[in-house]
């Protein structure tokens, strides 16, 4: 059932039917009702390919997916997707993932906008002076950045969490509890979120005249194994930290294992706070010692990004407003006063 057939059986022109269906004003309300009714009855659905060719609108939002044999997609992605998908569904938006060589995403971005394959895109895991953000900005397609870049000479719309504030709070708490030697097990520090977290920790320490020791900050892909390695390295050195802030629950798993392997305890020998993105399958309260966390649902962020993309597509949102969500600090049993030296 296409427009031609439908308009023919209604004895109306395609123009009128099209307009009736799309809510244009220049059509009699009575007629509109007839049209809408007939469309529904015959299950008419405008052919998206045709509409797309005519209007350029696709009803899809895009994401360039870096791939490659040695490229691992972050498990956070799936949670983000849950939120995004949930919102997208309610607005009849589809998501198209365009796989790209991780080292050459530019070509893919250019392709999807040149071909008008999507109405908007989002960018995740941005880095300082992120080329993708700059590119997408000049290409002129609506977009939202999940996270933030830094050092760009233009403004852009983003939704981020207050990583610096979160880790500042976490570190401040640890300092207040008497810890003097903190360490940070961070994610890849080429990404802005990691930089912000480190900044937060440093700022909190500085406020008490402390510093993040040279060997007290690790920056690695967020795997259990890396968490373990980092923790061992930290805890086996002579000025081992008495408290660790950790960028991910998965890494925290490794930290806990390292602590156990070394015959230490949490929080007796080490206080631990990790960032929790709120996975349904791994909860900080279920760690053998319930884990204190800085918590922010990445799923909610996904929904929000979808919401803003939808708004930008339909022209309801404009400008370059960046929004920064506060992060909860949830204190559980994994933090305690610093162990007293020499006792």
């Amino acid at each position: 059932m296409n427009l031609k057939q439908l308009s023919h059986m209604l004895a109306l022109s395609q123009t009128t039917v099209s307009r009736a269906l799309n809510g244009y004003p220049e059509v009699n309300e009575e007629t509109r009702r007839r049209v809408i009714d007939a469309a529904k009855r015959h299950g008419y659905r405008p052919n998206p390919s045709a509409r797309r060719l005519a209007t350029g609108k696709t009803g899809m939002i895009g994401y360039v997916l870096p791939t490659g044999n040695s490229v691992d997609i972050d498990p956070h992605f799936v949670e983000f997707l849950s939120g995004l998908g949930d919102y997208a569904r309610s607005h009849e938006l589809d998501l198209v993932l365009s796989p790209a060589d991780a080292d050459d995403q530019e070509t893919t971005y250019r392709r999807i906008v040149a071909n008008r394959q999507v109405d908007a895109v989002y960018i995740s895991s941005p880095r300082p002076t992120d080329r993708r953000v700059a590119l997408v900005n000049t290409l002129g397609i609506p977009f939202i950045v999940h996270g933030r870049s830094e050092g760009l000479d233009f403004d852009y719309p983003f939704t981020d969490i207050d990583n610096e504030g979160a880790f500042h709070e976490a570190a401040r708490l640890l300092v207040q509890l008497g810890h003097r030697r903190l360490a940070l097990i961070n994610g890849d520090d080429r990404e802005t979120f990691a930089i912000h977290r480190e900044r937060g920790v440093r700022r909190a320490l500085a406020a008490s005249g402390l510093v993040l020791g040279e060997g007290h900050v690790c920056s690695l892909a967020m795997t259990e194994e890396n968490g373990y390695r980092a923790a061992r390295r930290l805890l086996e050195q002579s000025d081992a930290p008495t408290a660790i802030a950790c960028s991910s629950l998965i890494m925290a798993l490794g930290v806990v294992r390292a602590v156990r392997d070394l015959g230490l305890t949490i929080p007796g020998d080490l206080s631990l706070i990790a960032h929790d993105d709120v996975f349904p399958w791994l909860k900080p309260e279920n760690f053998s010692v319930p884990l204190s966390t800085t918590r922010s649902s990445i799923r909610l962020a996904g929904a929000r990004v979808a919401e803003r993309l939808a708004a930008r597509i339909s022209g309801l949102e404009e400008g370059t407003r960046g929004e920064v969500w506060p992060v909860d600090l949830v204190v559980r049993a994994s933090v305690a006063g610093a162990p007293v030296r020499g006792y």
Copy 2:
């Protein structure tokens, strides 16, 4: 730069240019070279929307993504996606995720095929007599099932791993080691993979005249918390199992925690084998006691599914061949002989 312009500057008809570019035989090789050269020089890329309207081909593969507030996307998905994306990239295929109400995916399937939004789809996490498989089969769009359904009255193409065989081997090993009371901590048993795994365990037990005790099989969403709960329940009952087969590494995390909480040890009090889908961020060899696993890379499966979809789209693959991959049984320190009773 569109076809019209290009053909005009070449002083050829659109027909000829189009055919030259698409490799049709009825064009002089000399001419073809000229056309291809000019196209490259001017960066001509056929508008996909137009091509799509004309041919119905989209260059996209589809996946209906169940969403909803209480619907969690499996973290396995992201690994599968890595593989799929990696292959798709090399074939210039995009993936479109169409979010759907988890309870009504049919509408979405119908929509994407009625609208010809994708050239093929894949289905994951199938259940016995899966309605999606039946639907997609009748709708006549090329598809591959990742996993298997059961009890359908037609054949269909799938790529699955030998879940039954894997768990059969695992259980057989445990039995050989003297274990008499095995338990299974399984995933959602409405899904075929879980059914097959249970079947494998039962078969291995039966071969030695044993059975899977009434209370010795749990079937839950694969979260750490559920692994913990299941393990506690199992281990606290009077005829606690001496060995557990577990459907997921994440659940195994919970099992290990429960074992520790109960003051037991692995493998002294309990042998444990889990299924490993090969996540980069959580490895069985890094468990405090290295975990024996049935291993099968879900990423490879993703790549394979993409490969078969691409083949079906281009008509290189037909028929309903199902392929079943063998699964490795990797023995590590988490299994040992059954503890001797009463000693």
